[in-house]
């Protein structure tokens, strides 16, 4: 999961936003840890749950890592007044708040269905808005496949 995050991280630029969807323990924070590596972020990426949002400094760009699980409305998220323009923003459980951040983002859904083998995950990526073209998504998926095989 971390390796997939790294592949995505290498392709992100300031202003980009990623929404991570998946149940507790699916690997959202692990994915983000890999993504941080791809962004060349310094230091450890730990769970943002307790503080809602944590900013990590990077050589190329900052990473803003958020957990929106306990945010009950987009207004509450806006209240946090996060500076997302100059950073890459990753929001766990972010479905309802992404529109506060950007008009275009990448959604990464990680499924840990109990019918799968232990440890197996199904990852679905979906572009929202015009930041991600079909070609870019195809290239991203191809890069994911190379990491897995």
């Amino acid at each position: 999961m971390a390796e997939l995050g790294t592949v995505l991280g290498q392709q992100l630029a300031p202003g980009d936003a990623v929404c991570l969807v998946g149940p507790l323990g699916a690997g959202k924070t692990t994915f983000t840890r890999g993504l941080a590596r791809g962004l060349e972020i310094r230091g450890e990426v730990t769970s943002p749950t307790f503080v809602i949002a944590r900013r990590h400094r990077g050589l190329r760009v900052d990473l803003l890592h958020c957990d929106a699980y306990r945010i009950s409305s987009p207004d509450e998220f806006a209240d946090l007044d996060l500076d997302t323009d100059e950073a890459v923003t990753v929001v766990e459980w972010g479905q309802s708040v992404m529109a506060e951040i950007s008009d275009s983002w990448l959604e990464v859904a990680i499924d840990r269905s109990s019918s799968h083998d232990e440890g197996t995950r199904q990852v679905t990526v979906c572009g929202r808005g015009d930041r991600w073209t079909a070609t870019q998504l195809d290239l991203l998926i191809a890069a994911f496949r190379r990491v897995i095989s």
Binding site: G25, R54, S115
Partner: protein, 349 residues
């Protein structure tokens, strides 16, 4: 300075608005107005709710503490306040209150570290904090192992969680089991009726290469996932989830790892004393297991009373009082609230 400096401590790093007053090592007041009720419906701490609640509660809590201690504000020798780490918006309320009091009363203000305060509170238990000592701090936001040589200016972090904090794991597992927030006390209670050996949940970073690379670090994310998978499997098979057994087995796994690593640190680094602090130190199983293992290893265990383990103002006052009696410089007038203040900065300059 008097032998027993009268110090007021303010703590607003998370969801408790707390004011404590100490005279040297004597606790005079420990007043807490919690916004936890307001948070319960969110299943967590929401920073904006916390900041607003702190603002409303600050003055009444301060007045109550003074009344309990039987002092008036001009009697104080100094004011201490948590400057970090914590939620930025919440910290600012306490820091502003402390600075205003300092300015109005003409008293020195000490911006102190929340984690160092969790250790310093041990000094209110009747004897001074042993120095040097190892400290295990476990709460909703932190899980750290520290080497404390001097509480005011020599604390070295030796290990920390690499993913979720221990208290956060309690909250998330409580959520999985349908128990209310905050998860710790509810899991503790439900676990009383369960079998801690019913399910063999994983102990993160305790073997092989993981242990070598992360000797004094913790990881609770894998444990949380294991519990989630176990509960889902149970439901998928149409069986009723044995909540008490899951809670007890999960709690056992957390306590086991925390105590094992803390005791290992004491024997490897030559510490005779282990101080337990933070909200999770109120957990009954962690306390009993720590007592048992420390006794076996010849380590003296010190755990503050449960009311002093969770966030409170007395711990801030206790560290402030130490700073005063050791002649430390007060913080500059413009010291900031620092949400990610590192643990080796016990006092703000």
């Amino acid at each position: 300075m008097p032998d027993e400096p009268l110090v007021l401590g303010i703590e607003t790093s998370c969801d408790e608005t707390a004011v404590g007053i100490v005279a040297g090592h004597r606790l005079l007041a420990n007043t807490i107005a919690s916004s936890a009720d307001e948070h319960a419906r969110f299943g967590g701490i929401v920073p904006e709710v916390a900041s607003r609640a702190h603002l409303e509660a600050m003055v009444p809590t301060l007045q109550r503490a003074c009344k309990t201690a039987g002092i008036s504000l001009p009697d104080l020798d100094a004011i201490a306040v948590t400057a970090g780490p914590g939620l930025a918006g919440a910290l600012v309320v306490g820091v502003s209150a402390a600075k205003s009091l300092g300015l109005a009363l003409g008293k020195p203000v000490y911006g102190v570290n929340h984690l160092a305060s969790h250790v310093a509170v041990d000094g209110l238990s009747g004897s001074p904090v042993p120095e040097p000592a190892a400290a295990l701090l476990v709460s909703g936001g932190h899980s750290s192992l520290l080497a404390v040589t001097d509480l005011v200016d020599d604390i070295v972090p030796l290990g920390a969680t690499i993913d979720d904090a221990a208290g956060e794991a309690f909250d998330k597992v409580a959520r999985l089991l349908g128990l209310p927030f905050p998860g710790g006390p509810h899991i503790d209670e439900v676990a009383q009726g369960g079998d801690p050996s019913a399910i063999d949940f994983p102990r993160g970073l305790t073997g092989g290469r993981d242990l070598q690379r992360h000797r004094y670090d913790f990881s609770f994310s894998g444990l949380k996932t294991a519990v989630a998978r176990w509960v889902e499997q149970c439901r998928a098979e149409g069986r009723q989830v044995p909540v008490a057994d899951v809670a007890a087995s999960f709690q056992e796994a957390v306590a086991d790892v925390l105590v094992r690593k803390a005791v290992m640190l004491c024997s490897e680094q030559g510490f005779d004393h282990l101080i337990l602090g933070g909200g999770v130190a109120a957990n009954s199983r962690l306390r009993s297991l720590a007592e048992q293992k420390c006794e076996g290893a010849g380590v003296r265990l010190r755990i503050p009373a449960p009311g002093l383990c969770t966030d409170n103002g007395a711990m801030v006052a206790a560290l402030g009082s130490l700073a005063v009696s050791r002649g430390a410089q007060p913080s500059e007038d413009d010291f900031p609230a620092e949400s990610s203040l590192p643990v080796d900065v016990a006092l703000m300059s």
